[in-house]
Chain length 349, copies 3
């Protein structure tokens, strides 16, 4: 995308100072800049860069009063951050594949494809699968038997949506994610080997959900593993069988949730967190990275830390004493000796 400063100012409803014909092709950070880029001054802390940036166009607040000459063409807007978000969306949209079906895709006659879908090369769509209107299935992705992909959902290369799993509308499933692997369930035999428990359930992902690259979501033993509306999962996350994640909860990379655990709505969960199976987590819980949760969290909207978790502030306090433990140990040893002396003054002195 090549776009002139004039067009950008019009698109953003801003006013222009400088060369209206200068073109940009991508956004940049103000400290990096570069010819042909549009940068922005959002945080006043970065103001000095405004006078040195090599960006062709600079987005500033309508109230910005330069203290030195600025070489970039200025576009003044009401809300710099809102304008950036609009710009990023605009630049990002260019990348989407056009509708159409690759000749090398292998699509079952018994699959149902909506209007305006885009199906990339080497994609497999199995019998009974449904792909909603405007959905994009990028190259090398897999849509299993009876799986459903909602309208306008985007599936990246190498993602696997296995048999009978369902993905809602406006979702994004990133590359190499696996939706619908078997749950990790085995029944011990008498000889201490294990019998596989067949998993006949599925995974249901509601609307507006994003699933990160190489994340795995296991299907339910029976019923469904459920990812509610608006949930955002980062990369390399493990979601066990029959788990339910409440609406608008966000989970950072490499966290894992064991089978049948139920996480509430609006939770914010850090990276590398682990949840035991069969626990319930209250709405709005905030869990610090690397924490471990082995029991229910009943009180909503609390912050937690540690493995096993304790309240966040308590952890910080306990950890600050943990750092002093060797010193504390010496203190106690000294006190013990002193106490012994005090108790038996006759013998010692």
């Amino acid at each position: 995308m090549q776009i002139t400063a004039r067009e950008l100012a019009h698109f953003l409803g801003g006013s222009l100072e400088g060369n209206p014909d200068i073109t940009v092709s991508q956004p940049s950070k103000i400290e990096e800049g570069g010819e042909g880029t549009i940068s922005f001054l959002g945080n006043p802390k970065y103001e000095s860069y405004a006078y040195t940036t090599t960006a062709s166009v600079l987005l500033v607040s309508k109230d910005f009063a330069p203290k030195s000459p600025v070489s970039a063409t200025l576009i003044r807007v009401d809300d710099v951050y809102a304008s950036i978000a609009r710009l990023l969306q605009q630049f990002g949209q260019q990348a989407k594949p056009a509708p159409g079906i690759s000749e090398t895709a292998v699509i079952s006659d018994e699959a149902m494809l909506g209007n305006q879908v885009s199906i990339g090369a080497a994609v497999i769509v199995e019998a009974g699968a449904q792909v909603g209107e405007g959905a994009i299935i990028m190259g090398q992705a897999y849509i299993g038997k009876g799986a459903k992909i909602g309208p306008n959902t985007l599936i990246y290369p190498g993602a696997r949506i296995l048999d009978r799993c369902e993905v809602g509308r406006n979702c994004i499933i990133h590359a190499n994610a696996v939706i619908g692997s078997d749950g990790f369930g085995f029944a011990p035999r008498e000889d201490r080997s294990y019998e596989k428990i067949v998993h006949v359930g599925n995974v249901v992902i509601e609307d507006e959900v994003e699933i990160g690259a190489n994340t795995t979501i296991d299907r339910a033993t029976m019923g469904s593993t459920i990812i509610r509306e608006g949930v955002k999962l980062d990369n390399l996350i493990q979601v066990g069988h029959n788990v339910e994640i409440g609406a608008h909860t966000v989970i950072a990379a490499q966290s894992g949730i064991a089978g049948s655990t139920k996480i509430g709505q609006y939770c914010r969960i850090g990276g590398q967190v682990g949840f035991s199976g069969h626990v319930e987590i209250a709405d709005g819980s905030q869990i610090q990275a690397q924490s471990g949760i082995a029991g229910n969290i009943k009180e909503p909207n609390q912050a937690w830390f540690g493995s096993p978790i304790i309240p966040y502030r308590d952890f910080i306090r306990s950890h600050s004493v943990f750092k002093k433990l060797p010193e504390l140990y010496k203190t106690i040893s000294r006190m013990e000796r002193e106490l012994a002396t005090l108790k038996a003054p006759e013998a010692d002195q």
Copy 2:
């Protein structure tokens, strides 16, 4: 699969009460039920659901004496749980792809395929690879040069079995797992950069093993990384080069095992556990989630927790004091002051 209550009762060797012609197509949980499903009452705690469930058929113990009317058709069996396992297996089997070789699979003339194999679309089977009788290689999987896949083994979409790696019979390799990536071995050069150590070994996976989605198993530097009979690995696990995992050991998701470590038989290892390289773990060890193991475990059948690990019970006790550390710190400070007073009574009083 559509099956009548009469057929189900016959299949399970149970006796029938109610409509023998009602059909079901899938199992359900008793609290979820649903028309066209078969549910079960295993745990008496759930008895109340028997009177309200909307399942078409309900599997109960032969001794079940209803206290209220039950609308579902009943099938009475000797052992409810064993019947469920048989049912799940029956419903699950329907999903398996039929034997046959996709036209879009790319199979080397020098590969050897057994009878009744199923090879999906866009699969690659390289020269010298062998696929055993009845094995199923689902779409988009990769079987490298000289790799061996045992009879009746199931390889899910996107799994990569790299050159010369061997998978036994009746194994399941889940989607996007990687078997035979290079070990992480580098020799430091004088300029502090690293020289790659070429890994010429392979991975050997014995019979009845299950490998989770997106799990990675590195090949040996020389010799083999070995996964013994009956081992079950969950999703997103890392197994380093030259590791050996003993028979019938189970490991939960996101655990990692560094190079040359040897884990015994019948171990049960939680999620997100980390093992250092070159350690040995005794048979039957039980390791709690998120633990870290940096040394050998010599005594078999013990439980461990923490990072670094200590015996499980000791960890629980130490952690319960960890929670009280701030309070303990204050106590000690107070005691110090009191001691000082007692030691120097003349000066203070």
Copy 3:
């Protein structure tokens, strides 16, 4: 590769004792050996195996003086380890795919392929992508729009190099790695749902870098996520948007780095380590496995441990007291009672 002892001795510049016509096809460990293998005696600890090994050829130091008969043909060299490294490289090189382009690869007319490239089956190379001379793109890999792959770089099956990402020369990207997934960035809306922040940046991987299997590297919001020259990343690692990893830093499996964090050069980072976003890590930092880093590390070349980290030695000391906490707790309780007694002797005695 079948090679005679005579040829090997010549290749390694060593002297030969025994049968010069015996052939070997692969290296082995001295304790495993096997006919048709070449093994080595590097560490004197293993000398006893020299007299029992079944390897056909044994590589030893020129000074090796056998105390018993050795059945293997000996090759004496100046530096056993350097010779092994050369041998492993030699045996390993045989495996590389020959140049050529598979008929089933889907390559855009607008892609640019260098000389002597090898492109495997079912590979996708999108419009505007560039593949450098001698690069190997193995089967089922994905090279996105405008992506650049440097000369002699090796991309394993199922790796995804997404739009506009750049990989330098002599790199190795292992199977199912994802380069260029979206960063995990969302702006909270007033109704507590999340708006996706479009990521228009890319990933830049410099020369001589190795990226492990199933590792994910997110693209920058704007600008680039940067992996500097010579970095080695193990399997299942998460690298967030706008992260920078300094030259010749090595990171073990399952570690995660949140957005905008900057890691220095020559760092050595263990497995399952977690970094918060927006922190800076000094050159040469050594971080123990499972540690958590929430703040800057300013002093270079220091060792760290714990979650949150403290200096390595301090952690070891604190952890050794942690193990004694229950005992310490009892000691303190006893001391409290004794102190109370000492303070009020009249009342108690």
